[in-house]
C-alpha cells in the first residue's frame, strides 16, 4: 500500500518506557524505538545545532550513557518536548524530524552516514 508523507510523519501511538526511551508507531504502520541517549544526542535545539552553519554541536558521544527522559509532552499536534535528566529541556522534536531520525536498520540504511 502506498502511504503519504502525512501518514509517515504522524503518530498513531506514542509509548514511553519510563526514562529509558520511547516508541512511536506511525500511521503507516512503521514503529520507531528511540533510546533516551539517542534522542538527547540528536536534540534539534539551537544550543545543540548551530543556527548559522547547521553543524551539530552536541551529539551522542557528548552525552552520559545513563541519561534518561524525565518527562515528555506533546507540543500542539506536531512535536514532542523532552526534559532530560542532564537538565536539557530546550529541544522540540517535530514528528517529521523523529520519523527522519528513526534508528531502525531499514531507515538508517536510507540515510547518509553523517546523519545516522
Amino acid at each position: 500500500m502506498l502511504t503519504t508523507p502525512e501518514q509517515r510523519g504522524t503518530p498513531a501511538e506514542i509509548r514511553k518506557q519510563g526514562g529509558a526511551g520511547m516508541t512511536i508507531r506511525w500511521q503507516d504502520g512503521h514503529a520507531s524505538t528511540f533510546g533516551a541517549r539517542y534522542l538527547r544526542g540528536r536534540c534539534p535545539c539551537a544550543q545543540c545545532v548551530s543556527e548559522v552553519t547547521g553543524q551539530r554541536l552536541v551529539s551522542e558521544e557528548h552525552i552520559a550513557p545513563d541519561v534518561g527522559i524525565e518527562s515528555a509532552r506533546t507540543v500542539g499536534n506536531y512535536a514532542l518536548h523532552f526534559s532530560f535528566s542532564d537538565g536539557h529541556t530546550t529541544g522540540i522534536y517535530s514528528f517529521d524530524y523523529l520519523r527522519r531520525t528513526c534508528p531502525c536498520p531499514a531507515c538508517s540504511g536510507d540515510r547518509p552516514a553523517a546523519d545516522a
Partner: protein, 359 residues
C-alpha cells in the same frame, strides 16, 4: 385488531437510514438522537448536530421525519427538534484552554486580502447561529478587529485575568490592547508573551469556537499559537490577484509542517458586484483558489465578492452579515461559514488523540 407497538429500537432502526453527509455515518451511530419520547402515535426526539451553523439542518430534519413515518408502522406524527452541541476534538488535557472546544486560525499569505474582514464575519455568523464564539486579534502589526466590531473600551483586568470585551455577541481580545503604544520593532519579541497571555490569561469561559486572526505570512506568532494550544484547524484567505497563490502556498506549508489541518481556502474579493444593478463582474478572473484547492485536495469554502458594502460595514463596526443579512455578500459569507463549521465538525471526529502512554 392488533395494535402495533412503537418501540424506541424500531424508531432508531428507521433513523439508521439517515446519513450525515459530512461525517458519512448514520445519525444513530453518531449518537445524534437524544430525548426520545413515544406518546401514543406520536414520536418526538432531538437530533443533536455537531454545529448550530449546519447548512444541512433542515434536510436532516425532513429526512429523519420521513424515515420514521415511512418505516415504523403505527406512527402518525413525528416531532423532530434540531439541537446542536459543538464537539471538542480530542487533545491533551493539559494544553487546552479550559472551556474552549475549537481553536480556528485564519491566515493569509499577505496583508490586505481581507483576512480580518473574513475572520470577523465568520465569528459573527457563528454567534448568530447560536454558537458561543470568541475572536482573538493576534495580528500584532495591524490589529483591526476592535474597529471592525465597533468595540472601543479596553478589557478589564481582574485578579490578573483579562475579561474580554463583548461585541455583537462575540467575546473579543486584541493583542493590540497589550502592545498599545509600543514601537513596531519591539513588538516581534513581545508577540510571544502577548499571544500566550491572550490565549491563557483571558477569561474566555465556555466557547464552541475561538477564531484567531493571525498576522499575514509565516512566522513566530503562528509557532507560538501551535505550541501553546491545540489548534483544530486553519482557514486560508486569498484573493484572485495572489499570483498563482504563491504566497498562500507558503502559509499552507507552514500549517502542514506544524500539523495544523487546513480546513479550507476562501477566495475573497473574488468578483465584483455592481452596487447599482447588483450585476456580477469577474474582473480578476476568479476561481484560482478553487482550482488550487481541488489540486491540493483541500476543501474550498467559498467565494466572497468585492463589495463596497462589506468595507463600509467593516469601517463602521457592524459586519455585513448583521447589517445587511439578506444581501448577496452576507449570504456568501454565511454560506462560507456554514461550510467551515462542517469542516470543523469533520475534523473533531477525525482527530486521533495524541497522548503519551507510560509503560
Amino acid at each position: 385488531m392488533t395494535q402495533t407497538l412503537i418501540t424506541e429500537s424500531k424508531v432508531l432502526d428507521a433513523l439508521r437510514s439517515v446519513m450525515d453527509p459530512d461525517l458519512k455515518r448514520d445519525i444513530v451511530s453518531l449518537n445524534f438522537i437524544r430525548n426520545m419520547k413515544i406518546d401514543g402515535e406520536t414520536v418526538s426526539f432531538d437530533v443533536n448536530l455537531t454545529t448550530p451553523a449546519c447548512p444541512v439542518k433542515e434536510r436532516l430534519r425532513e429526512q429523519s421525519r420521513q424515515a420514521v413515518l415511512s418505516q415504523v408502522p403505527g406512527v402518525k406524527d413525528v416531532r423532530v427538534n434540531m439541537t446542536a452541541e459543538v464537539r471538542r476534538p480530542p487533545a491533551p488535557e493539559t494544553s487546552r484552554i479550559k472551556g474552549v472546544k475549537n481553536i480556528v486560525a485564519v491566515g493569509s499569505g499577505k496583508g490586505g486580502v481581507g483576512k480580518s474582514t473574513v475572520a470577523t464575519n465568520i465569528a459573527v455568523s457563528l454567534a448568530k447561529s447560536g454558537a458561543s464564539v470568541g475572536l482573538l486579534d493576534a495580528d500584532i502589526y495591524g490589529p483591526s478587529i476592535p474597529i471592525m466590531m465597533a468595540s472601543s473600551g479596553e478589557p478589564e483586568v481582574k485578579n490578573q485575568i483579562i475579561e474580554p470585551v463583548t461585541a455583537h455577541g462575540v467575546k473579543l481580545m486584541s493583542m493590540g490592547y497589550l502592545s498599545g503604544e509600543m514601537p513596531l520593532i519591539w513588538r516581534g519579541p513581545m508577540a510571544h508573551k502577548a499571544l500566550q497571555q491572550s490565549l491563557l490569561g483571558v477569561n474566555w469561559g465556555e466557547l464552541d469556537y475561538l477564531i484567531v486572526d493571525l498576522p499575514p505570512g509565516t512566522g513566530d506568532v503562528h509557532l507560538t499559537l501551535v505550541q501553546t494550544v491545540p489548534v483544530t484547524g486553519a482557514v486560508i484567505v486569498s484573493t484572485p490577484q495572489d499570483v498563482g497563490l504563491q504566497i498562500s502556498m507558503k502559509t499552507l506549508r507552514m500549517f502542514q509542517q506544524t500539523k495544523v489541518p487546513v480546513l479550507g481556502i476562501v477566495e475573497n474579493m473574488s468578483y465584483y458586484v455592481c452596487p447599482h444593478c447588483g450585476g456580477r463582474d469577474d474582473i480578476f478572473g476568479h476561481g484560482g483558489a478553487k482550482k488550487a484547492a481541488e489540486t491540493l485536495g483541500i476543501p474550498f469554502l467559498g467565494e466572497i465578492p468585492l463589495d463596497p458594502a462589506i468595507r463600509k460595514h467593516s469601517d463602521t463596526g457592524r459586519p455585513v452579515v448583521l447589517a445587511e443579512p439578506e444581501s448577496a455578500s452576507a449570504r456568501a459569507l454565511l454560506d462560507m461559514t456554514g461550510a467551515l463549521a462542517q469542516q470543523i465538525s469533520i475534523q473533531a471526529f477525525r482527530t486521533i488523540p495524541l497522548t503519551i502512554i507510560e509503560e
